[in-house]
């Protein structure tokens, strides 16, 4: 299998669309025959990240690289950046708006979740410039 590259533009204005990209990646991974647990881990990581891009930033671009032993997800937004990354990692820490809370988000569980379900995660962020989250999910074998 050759390395597959998928790219998505995430619309920052439409909360109802958030998750489209994750849903598509999940579909592709199923078609490629990955095991259910790997697909679920990748889907959760990407979905949490995609929601964050919409509720905390203004959308952005997601690149996904799939090869037989790993899935790499790079989510780049041009949002406000994260002031205190240390805090952002903590369970329960959130700055989510009421609109996001009304949809069932804002528990401050997204980043801890992404950490739990990925094998590698790194955040690069600059105030006023944006945030890039990179995650790697290794395939269960």
């Amino acid at each position: 299998m050759e390395k597959i590259h998928l790219q998505y533009n995430v619309d920052g204005d439409d909360l109802t669309l958030a998750g489209e990209a994750s849903s598509d990646v999940r579909r592709v991974l199923r078609q490629l025959g990955f095991d259910a647990e790997t697909i679920r881990r990748a889907a959760i990581c990407m979905y949490e990240g995609e929601i964050n891009m919409v509720i905390h930033a203004y959308g952005g671009v997601i690149d996904v690289y799939i090869d037989p032993d790993s899935i790499e997800i790079i989510m780049a937004d041009t949002g406000p950046g994260i002031a205190d990354v240390e805090k952002a990692w903590q369970e329960g820490y959130t700055t989510a708006s009421q609109t996001a809370r009304d949809l069932g988000f804002g528990a401050g569980m997204g980043l801890p979740n992404m950490k739990r379900y990925s094998d590698f995660i790194d955040i690069e962020t600059e105030l006023g410039k944006g945030t890039t989250v990179k995650m790697i999910i290794k395939i269960n074998s």
Binding site: I44, E48, M109
Partner: protein, 114 residues
């Protein structure tokens, strides 16, 4: 337990996914916080919730859940039902509150996962 038994226990109405009522589920989860579902759900096939938005269906989709139960008789709009349908997820509507609906299911053997 088959989803149609869940329907009967909850006196629920089937909003979509009639063709999947024979599917088996062994546990359920009740939540209005989608991040909690994403964090803690393991193999629960059913999500009971009072929330009515597309992200509920997306969350269930990401977690491979088979059925969403809308509690307290709330009416989701057609778009939401169509979306669940497009994801092959059964959507039920029960008149019971979250607490009562979960209690009825638990009582009849549909456990949670801790």
């Amino acid at each position: 337990m088959q989803i149609k038994t869940v329907r009967d226990i909850l006196d629920a109405e089937v909003l979509c996914g009639e063709e999947y009522l024979d599917q088996e589920v062994s546990s359920a989860c009740g939540a209005d916080l989608m991040s909690d579902v994403l964090a803690f759900v393991k193999d629960q096939g059913i999500l009971l919730t009072g929330l009515l938005n597309l992200q509920v269906v997306r969350t269930a989709e990401m977690m491979d859940m088979k059925c969403i139960v809308i509690v307290r008789g709330k009416t989701p709009d057609e778009k939401l039902v169509d979306f669940a349908d497009s994801r092959s997820i059964v959507m039920l509507r029960t008149p019971y509150s979250m607490y009562t609906a979960c209690g009825r299911l638990y009582n009849d053997g549909l456990v949670g996962v801790e």
